[in-house]
Every structure is written in C-alpha cells, then in structure tokens.
C-alpha cells in the first residue's frame, strides 16, 4: 500500500542526500545563512548546474527549501518549518482522502440501485 511505500522512499532520499560531502557542506552553510544558488556556486569548484543539482537533491529529501527573492533563489535549511508544512499537508491529505472515499461510496450506491432496478 502507498502508506507503506512513502516512508521508505523518504528515508532513501534522505540517506542519498547526506551521502555526499558537498551536499553536507551546502546543508551546513544553509543552516548558518540563506545563500542564493549563485552564491553557493561561487563557493565550490564546480558549475552552477552541478550545484543546482545538489540543491535539488537536498530539496527532494526535505532538507532545504528554495525561496524566490527577486531574481535570486535563496536556499534555506529549516527542517522545523518543513516538518510543520508536511504535517499540515498530511492532515489535509487525510481529510481529502476521506472525502474522496465517501464520494466514491455514494457513486457506488448509484450503481447498486441501478442494478437492483434492472433486476426487478
């Protein structure tokens, strides 16, 4: 079931993100300040695209968020904020999943009524 698959995937993403020295360094840097992607790119001997890729991996693992500020993309490490956002969206997901289930149930009732109607 989907519920079982999600945490394993999240754990994989997390370990993959932390398995690289550059990414760990980016994460530490983002904990101290909110650098833009271009400022991060200046700090490492690699291309802008490569740094951008590292940031994307960290982002996927839920370790950093990107926030647009004018023409720049600021990278922020704020695990608590992310955790809160996840909690709120998880609660919203549960609410809507419940609603969709009940909608399906009502539509299934239609079918049953129709079938019974035909039998009579």
């Amino acid at each position: 079931m989907v519920v079982d698959e999600l945490p394993a995937k999240a754990v994989d993403d997390l370990f993959h993100a932390l398995a690289d020295a550059t990414r760990r360094d980016i994460l530490l840097r983002c904990g101290r300040e909110e650098p833009s992607v271009s400022r991060l790119a200046e700090a490492y001997p690699m291309s802008f695209a490569a740094v951008q890729k590292h940031v994307a991996v960290l982002e996927r693992a839920g370790l950093v968020t990107k926030q647009r500020s004018g023409r720049e993309q600021l990278v922020r490490s704020d695990p608590r904020a992310l955790q809160r956002a996840r909690e709120a969206l998880d609660a919203l997901e549960l609410t809507w999943r419940g609603r969709v289930e009940r909608m399906s149930g009502l539509l299934a009732d239609d079918m049953e009524t129709q079938t019974r109607g035909h039998e009579r």
């Binding site: 839920g62 968020t65 990107k66 926030q67 904020a81 992310l82 809160r84 956002a85 996840r86 909690e87 709120a88 969206l89 998880d90 609660a91 919203l92 997901e93 549960l94 609410t95 809507w96 999943r97 419940g98 609603r99 969709v100 289930e101 009940r102 909608m103 399906s104 149930g105 009502l106 539509l107 239609d110 079918m111």
Partner: protein, 161 residues
C-alpha cells in the same frame, strides 16, 4: 481506491490530489451541487455536515456546520470565487464562530476543483492551498485535537477499504 495521485508542495503549501471516478462528470458534479449529497461526504462520519446556505454562483456562499459526537457544532463557510457546471469550481473555505458568522481572523484555504472526462469516467483534480504559512500554523494549532480524531476515524475507514 479512487485516489490516483497526491502531490504535496511544501514551499507553496499546496496539496494536489487526483481522483478517478467511475461516473460521468454530471453525476460527480451533483455531489458538489446538491447540498443533500454534499453533506453525505463533506464531514467524516463522526462529524457529519449539515448544509444551511448553498449558492454555487460567483460570490455566492455555502454555510454549514458539523456536529461532533457530543452534539458540539463547528461552523464553516465557503465563498464561491468561480463556478462552471459541471466542470470547475473554485472557493475559499473558512471557519465561522459559534453563531455561524464567518470569521476573518481564522485561517482560510483556497480550493480549486476540476472535473474532466477520463477513461470513460471522470477525473477530479483538486488543489487546496493555505494562503500563508501563518495560517497553516494556526490550522495546526487549532486543528490538532479535532483533526486527529477525524483523521484516526478516516484511517480506520481507509484500512478497512
């Protein structure tokens, strides 16, 4: 299960859910447009909804209350932003005080629903967005006790399904 996919955008505080139903769009639309049908699915079984006002017109409003196990009532409202039967609906969903008066201080959520023909049935795409991070925090603070009860009830239903 009719939920096809769920996507959570943590930066934009948006939930996107896609569900597929085995019924024509007109029929699925009725679940939203007919208040008697809407109240059968809007609230969880432990907090059934009773729709009071229900005007699906631009600028129109829907008001309702949900009744808890102890007879406790929780009021809510929608303000309809856009509506195009039987294919789309956009509304702001908010809380109201004990007398049913919409509270502008409490957080709101913007919901967009789109129904399209898909695979002989109907695909419903739903996007629900918290307007601000502060609002989201507020929902978490006030919704915890109640939301948790609600969610546990729904979990049971999901696991049984």
């Amino acid at each position: 299960m009719s939920v096809t996919s769920v996507d959570k955008d943590l930066d934009n505080l948006t939930l996107t859910l896609i569900a597929d139903f085995d019924a024509p769009a007109e029929r699925v639309w009725q679940l939203w447009a007919d208040p008697r049908q809407l109240e059968r699915w809007w609230g969880p079984p432990t907090y059934p909804a009773t729709m009071q006002q229900h005007e699906l017109t631009p600028g129109g409003s829907v008001t309702y209350f949900m009744t808890g196990p102890e007879g406790d009532r929780h009021h809510g409202w929608w303000r309809i932003e856009a509506v195009e039967p039987p294919s789309s609906l956009e509304f702001t969903d908010g809380f109201a005080d004990a007398d049913g008066r919409p509270s502008t201080e409490l957080p709101t959520n913007v919901v967009r629903v789109q129904l399209t023909a898909h695979d002989g049935g109907t695909r419903m795409q739903l996007r629900s967005t918290f307007s601000t991070r502060e609002q989201m925090e507020q929902v978490l603070r006030m919704g915890m006790a109640e939301g948790l009860r609600e969610s546990v009830g729904q979990m049971d239903a999901l696991l049984a399904a």
